[in-house]
Symmetry: C2
Subunit: 178 residues, 2 copies
DNA sequence: TTACAATAGTTTGAAGTCAAAGTAATATTT
DNA sequence: AAATATTACTTTGACTTCAAACTATTGTAA
């Protein structure tokens, strides 16, 4: 992520003012929120990828690995991976290709359905996932960039956004992303 | 964005439980927040790109255009665009290439510094930026997916995250992203 | 004045995203 | 049983991101 001089003002708050001055005041708050999420994503992705780079992993690959770590048998159909990570089938193909190239995952035939490809984590993949998780916990997850009080508040707010997008139906909690 | 059946539970809340059960409890909240931001970004980017697609724009191109709309002379050095949008110089080159291909922007020489390329918005670019903004206001910014009360709360929380990442120094507000 | 450092942007390569189209296999309908 | 629809994944192409290296220009130090 490109580094730059720290600005003395909040650029998104000022953009919100520009929006209001352009007679789009009603949408200004929403614009500022959307832009904030985009920027927060950029910041966190850069931090996560930096923490993962010693393991030659990216966040996309790491997420796929962790899905397999937490799966009961250490293997899942590619379609299920795409469903859980909410990415396009072509993206799953791409990520599993690369994990396979690094011997962290192996593709297997489905026992009864030849349309279906299973991704199975390897012992090496499991070990790397564990070490990468510990690095991520230390470098990012234990200090996500907001105070303790804010973490739950932000999570709840973003959960509302995810629910309204149809990610899930209720706050009763069962199975998992990973 | 791939559509999928709505889950009856919150996948990220469940991942947080997995994290706690794996003895990474201290980092579980941060992990859930980071993953929430990633997913919120995905949702919002898909909605924004869908609203922009009739104009043959993407969010990256749209942001660059709006930066020029709000600039005082309708033109900026590419380095300044990268600084404000907080993207890599190569990304700016790429986005300006495409805006140029669509005749929405023109590259110009700097009057006194031959290292510097200026991006100047065209009349056609201005018109499209306005129409695209109106479409975005209607489709996304006026209904970002959380209730009115939550918008400011989320904005404030994400501002804390951006500040801690060095985006800006204080909450006194001056100039702008765009 | 010259040599060196820094800046601005471009090019190349890698990574991951999605849309569309294609291939192969399975499920359903007739 | 055969035809048709659907599913699962892959391939291709477009888009955007960043890292590293490169080229050209300007600024600074000696």
């Amino acid at each position: 992520m490109a580094r730059r001089p720290t600005l003395p003002f909040d650029p998104i708050a000022e953009a919100r003012r520009n929006w209001s001055n352009a007679d789009w005041g009603e949408a200004a708050e929403g614009m500022a929120l959307v832009t904030s999420v985009m920027r927060a994503h950029q910041i966190l992705l850069a931090r996560v990828d930096e923490a993962l780079s010693p393991f030659e992993l990216t966040f996309a690959r790491y997420e796929a690995l962790m899905l397999l770590v937490f799966s009961s048998r250490g293997k899942l159909p590619l379609g299920k991976i795409g469903e859980r990570l909410q990415v396009h089938p072509a993206s799953v193909t791409n990520v599993i290709d690369r994990l396979e190239q690094h011997a962290l995952v192996r593709r297997e035939r489905h026992p009864t359905d030849q349309r279906t490809t299973l991704a199975a984590i390897t012992p090496q993949g499991r070990r790397l996932a564990k070490r990468a998780s510990e690095a991520l916990n230390a470098a990012v997850f234990s200090q996500p960039g907001v105070g303790d009080g804010r973490v739950q508040e932000l999570f709840d707010g973003l959960a509302e956004l995810r629910r309204s997008a149809g990610d899930f139906e209720d706050s009763t909690e069962r199975s998992s992303t990973f």
